[in-house]
């Protein structure tokens, strides 16, 4: 297929602005799927994603559109919608020449719209603004167009008005893709250069490598080289996603599809690598991607110690399809053997945990998440710290640095004060305010990542009654007065409850955690003192009084069965408890460290 007849594009949007629905409409209108298939969000093929209505992994599909008597091939490269997966967004965008910027006709420009639009501009893409949900009973289309102009610098006259749900003006979108987005450059006879933008492990076929051909042609049966990995393989199969994998003979310049090369290990295919022809090598590989940095860590421990190996296997399997997730074995005095796992963000963490518990049926005990810290040690050494348990002796630390994020809020004007208060309370540094319209403003703060990963999003939603949105990017590490806060339960230091906090909030946080633990740990037959301490100094204390009475009077006839089952259930529940010295601590208590922040 001639590059002139190819268009590669993404849809970028804030969450819930209708991206998946629009994608499905495009598929439906071009005959790639049936009316019945349309009812499901077919681009999201992971259960967890469908459940949460978000896309985690990039997906791709080739559709055909008739325009002025010619058939065009439009390749839609789907992008994840959540800030945790910004890295995957940039990967997808690099494989496109244009993007549909989808904005909700009522909600207007939101934080992720801005973030994604900037990514698209930086990637030199042609942007087509699309105002979606024009069928809603209440819309603010004119204001939304104004926002598109002032915030994003796009021409509002170029914006399309559609309803993805009702299928209104979808043809205009398809035509605009052909008319406005430039066709890919590159010639079929050039030396082959194809960008590896994703990969997936298939049990039967091995690694499926997702490609965007920049120049040249890849054919079934030829030899190719992964330039970075330096490995040469035979191309066993070539195909496109329509949306089902559909084999074809070749992929030419501009086309998007997959190859299967018999590689069995996902780790051997590097995202961002360049595929070339060993017999006709190009001068240079394509510019790749930088590896995403894991910023959020937590410990995951099997409740049953015997599940340790099973957990290791499952983590390995998950990491096959998600290279942005890491795990290394660790031990805790309190929890035994487990893994320290690294994630792109909190949502990413939740998704992995859910998969392990739901799909693999492993009961997990998860410690409160923490960010990565950078420590400058005496002797000019720096170290990255992803576990509060490993904080070195205070005397050896020259500088304790924490990751800082630039956070972009979009809120209505009457909530500006609330957002500023929220940020000031969390050690934020104010940057700018910009009015998108008389009613809405964009506020930029620099905030410690640790302060936003826990509950910033929930707090934002609550102080703005659901209307505020935020997005952030990590801008580097900054020195801060940080200390390790230890928690002692009946005199025993519980390493898995240790956390790193700013000295100014240590006492308040310590008190809140002790209070929370008091609620979570049930009474024992003895008194349990709970203490928060920095070094040897106790800064907060609570006491759980001894259990004094636990006897149910009635136990008659059939009640014996009911009563016995009740007690058995309680005993079963105890399996989710971990024993520390003489005290049993429930799983929930380990996360209460997080919730304790909410009470402040």
């Amino acid at each position: 297929m001639h590059p002139r007849l190819i268009r590669n594009f993404s849809i970028i949007a804030h969450i819930d602005h209708g991206k998946s629905t629009l994608a499905d409409q495009l598929l439906l209108k071009t005959g790639a799927i049936t009316e019945r298939q349309f009812r499901d969000q077919i681009l999201d093929d992971l259960d967890v994603e469908r459940e949460r209505g978000i896309t985690v992994k990039a997906r791709t599909v080739a559709i055909h559109h008739e325009y002025k008597g010619e058939t065009y091939e439009l390749n839609l490269i789907d992008t994840p919608g959540h800030v945790d997966f910004a890295y995957e967004v940039s990967r997808s965008l690099a494989a496109c020449e244009g993007a549909l910027l989808l904005v909700d006709a009522f909600q207007g420009v939101q934080a992720q719209t801005v973030a994604n639009a900037y990514s698209a501009v930086n990637a030199n893409l042609t942007i087509i603004p699309v105002v979606n949900k024009i069928d809603l009973p209440v819309t603010r289309i004119d204001e939304v167009l104004h926002e598109i102009e002032t915030v994003l610098g796009l021409d509002p006259d170029e914006a399309l008005r559609v309803s993805a749900k009702k299928g209104i003006n979808i043809d205009q979108v398809l035509d605009a893709i052909v008319e406005r987005i430039p066709h890919p450059a590159g010639q079929p006879d050039d030396p082959l250069r194809a960008l590896v933008f994703d990969s997936k492990y298939d049990t039967y076929r091995g690694v499926v490598t997702y490609l965007r051909i920049k120049e040249g042609t890849v054919r079934k049966g030829q030899k190719i080289r992964f330039m970075k990995a330096g490995l040469v393989h035979d191309v066993l199969d070539v195909g496109q996603f329509r949306p089902e994998p559909t084999p074809c003979e070749e992929l030419g310049p501009g086309q998007v599809g997959y190859i299967i090369t018999g590689v069995k290990e996902l780790g051997k295919v590097h995202i961002g690598d360049t595929v070339s022809d060993p017999n006709n090598p190009p001068a240079e590989p394509l510019p790749g991607y930088k590896k995403p940095q894991q910023m959020v860590f937590c410990g995951m421990y099997p409740i049953e110690a015997t599940d340790f190996e099973k957990l290791r296997e499952e983590l390995q399997k998950l990491s096959l399809n998600d290279s942005s997730f890491s795990f290394t074995p660790e031990t805790s005095d309190a929890l035994g053997f487990g893994f320290r796992c690294g994630f792109l963000g909190l949502l990413h963490m939740e998704i992995i945990q859910q998969r392990l518990e739901k799909e693999q049926n492993i009961d997990l005990l998860q410690t409160a998440p923490n960010v990565t810290y950078e420590l400058l040690l005496r002797g000019d050494k720096t170290m990255l710290l992803d576990n509060p348990q490993n904080v070195p002796d205070a005397g050896s630390i020259e500088e304790f640095r924490e990751p800082i994020a630039k956070v972009n809020f979009i809120v209505t004007s009457d909530h500006i004060g609330a957002i500023m208060k929220l940020c000031e309370d969390r050690r934020g540094v104010y940057k700018t305010t910009e009015f998108l319209s008389p009613q809405r403003a964009q506020i930029v703060y620099e905030l410690p990542l640790a302060e936003i990963i826990y509950d910033m999003h929930d707090k934002l939603k609550s102080v703005t009654r659901g209307y505020g949105t935020m997005d952030y990017e990590i801008i580097g590490f900054r020195e801060a007065d940080l200390v390790k806060l230890d928690i002692l339960v009946k005199g025993v230091r519980v390493d898995a409850l240790a956390m790193i906090v700013h000295r100014s909030v240590a006492e308040r946080r310590g008190r809140a955690i002790c209070k929370k633990l008091k609620e979570e740990i049930s009474k024992h037959q003895f008194e349990i003192p709970l203490q928060a301490a920095i070094g040897g100094r106790v800064i907060a204390r609570e006491t759980i009084s001894a259990l004094r009475k636990n006897v149910t009077a009635k136990c008659y006839g059939g009640d014996i069965t009911r009563k016995r089952k009740l007690l058995q259930k309680q005993k079963e529940g105890k399996k989710r408890l971990k024993q520390f010295g003489e005290v049993e601590i429930p799983q929930k208590a380990f996360l209460s460290v997080l919730e304790a922040g909410n009470d402040e």
């Binding site: 009475k549 009077a553 008659y556 007690l567």
Partner: protein, 399 residues
Amino acid sequence: MSSEILISPHDGATTPVRRPASDAGNRVPRSAYIHVPFCAHRCGYCDFTLVARRDDLVTPYLDALEQDLQTLADPQPVDTLFFGGGTPTHLDPAALRRLIELACGWFPLHDAAEFSVEANPFGLDEEKIAVLADGGVNRVSLGVQSFDLEMLRFLERDHTGDDALHVVDRVRRRIENVSLDLIFGVPGQTRELWQQTLDQAIALAPAHISTYGLTFEKGTTFWSRRLKGTIAPVPDDLERAMYGDAMDRLTAAGFVQYELSNFARPGRECRHNQTYWRQDPYFGHGPGAARYLRGKRSMNHRSVTTWIRRIQAGESPIAEIDELSPEDRAREAIYLGLRQADGVSRRELFERTGFHLDDLAAAAIREHVGAGLLSDDGESLRLTREGRFLADTVSGDFL
């Protein structure tokens, strides 16, 4: 029952080994329970199987019960017969008479059998008492709960303290063996008030007293009021002190605490309830009733109308079957044994279940004996006084 200690042929030492047990469940049932699911109204704390203001169902209930009893094929002589509720004495005299005749027809009473009926003070008049006495009832368990009007109103009981006092006299003129149920830990109840209730009960000199800590059961109005925060359980320490008062005062007055919540004059223990706690087999009929036959416990459907409908349609009224493995049965035996003053006898447990107590629960025994909650004389394991306060915690560890 003789203890069988097998002699190992090799070393000659006496080594008790697990052997097929003489299964308690396989013995012939000597007890029967009949559930009578009618009340004038449902009290706020009650989650028992019953219907209020549905006296129109009494005849269909009795018809269904008659049909259901026919599945027994032959009359089954028993040593204990128990009518529980609901309020069996809510039935009018004619219905009550029919119920007794029905039950005694299918469960003929042996000499010296115990025939208990639960009753509420309200409406228990001379006529009904006569029906009971003439029908052979020789034990009445009265749902007195309290003598204090304020407590009774809170519990939504329909009688007064005076009603209770009078009805005890009235019953005893015909049926001497009377038991009183009392509830403590009622929101608003002070320790003094509870002590006074105990003393009033003692002054009546009944044969038997049961004391219950108020519990908040799912599905009751008390449960939802507690969730809403309009009522709160009394503090732990107060409830503990009240239970302690019951043990102290009743024991001092000559009652024996033969089970966690049951106190009796010597020889006046409720033999029917002991059947349950000893894991002996028993028949059970009526909505929500349980039976324990051939090692299997099964429960009837708890809905009165469903129970009736099923029997009318010739279907089984059973909604749930609880079949325990030999080990779980042994564990349940320990759990039930600990509720009783006699505790768990190692010898008896082994004879009945084929399991050794120490094989099943060495760690739990060590822990709770160490904490002073259990006493162990080498043969039997019993809750200590302190252990009784924490009976659920302790006995739960044996399940």
